[in-house]
Symmetry: C2
Subunit: 246 residues, 2 copies
Amino acid sequence: MVTNFDGPAAARLARALIHTARDGALGTLDANGYPNASHVATATAIDGAPIVLISQLANHTLNLGRDSRASLLFVSPDVDGDTNTRSRVSVVGEAQRIAEPSHERDRFLRRHPDAELYVDFADFSFWRLVPSHAHIVAGFGQIADVAGVDLLAAADLCETLAGVDSGACAHMNEDHLDALKLMAEVIGGAPQGDWRSYALDPLGIDMANGSNAVRVEYDEPVGASKPLIQALRTLTERARQNGQTI
Amino acid sequence: MVTNFDGPAAARLARALIHTARDGALGTLDANGYPNASHVATATAIDGAPIVLISQLANHTLNLGRDSRASLLFVSPDVDGDTNTRSRVSVVGEAQRIAEPSHERDRFLRRHPDAELYVDFADFSFWRLVPSHAHIVAGFGQIADVAGVDLLAAADLCETLAGVDSGACAHMNEDHLDALKLMAEVIGGAPQGDWRSYALDPLGIDMANGSNAVRVEYDEPVGASKPLIQALRTLTERARQNGQTI
């Protein structure tokens, strides 16, 4: 049934769905043990774990306070044809409240600038889904399970990059729009447009243009500025060459 | 916190979200008791209960076979701004496999013509979510609970209409496109377009134009052809008058 959908390809697509989504369906357990699906805005932590900003007044937050078991469904953008052809991944794990969300707050606001209005309200808090495993369905027939660890970047790679991410995004958006455009369109296969980066992590770079988003991953994980710059240069150069041969 | 969002208005918006959605997030319980959110194509039964067509090979179907507790999240179409402004309803209840889905099959295929390709595969079956209650969030601050019974039409009204629904839709689409357009645009507030009906029920009529959909409800529930025709005429006439005064 599954064709051309090996482990690494499935994990890569799962990461792309998680990183490019603006929202997802949060599965929690209600007071009666029923599974509850609710709408949430999402972003990612530097290691790729999904994060949400939710109100203590909302049912799903009360549910997580009682039972941390949770899932998050991410679905690729709507299509005109059969909705079952949309790619989607269900990530299952434990939701943890983030006690001091400094970097997560910054990444979330880059993805959701409108959340600036309420991010600091006393009833809002950031939560992280620690993924144990995921199940991906890429249209009909392409189905795979992905281990939680394969959704995340190694912890030792994240420490330095967490301090680099914001500045590197701003730098790319100020001085290297041509590189972003090449990576998004030639490597990522995204439609033509003005692409801006909203997040970087040890495995790849996330870019948006209006409501479209695309993720491009480097050839190898990076854990510091120099390898990051080299990885982005390599991708840009390859895109430039591939773009010319089209 | 809640303004202008009384019980009937909340129930009406919940029904509109359920009836106009093409898909939703299905909450089920996995083998370890974790809540799982998965992507499903959706339609409605004649009484307004959500129905799904799912494969016995899929995780969510295995989950429902073990534990019928389920929820379905319906979200209004994507917007350019804050995704938290989208209206959504989480419907909670028991999922029941439909043993003989004759009318449900017909309604589902009218909403999802592409499903014709696999609807009769041996591993696919229709399930109905019997709603016990729902929780609706219409953007910020407009939050309400809705009883399951308020999502559904009374059973005695459904029996005759189940036999009328398909033919009445076809008749409206063949001979009364002007009436559909008036109802969708003037009463439903939908954008201009070629509106076709894909479902009728005792409480209202569901119309689609490409990926847009709109539901308009009658002034009173109907349970037979004559009151249905009268209800549609009343709405059309009101739309004509309102449209002229704009």
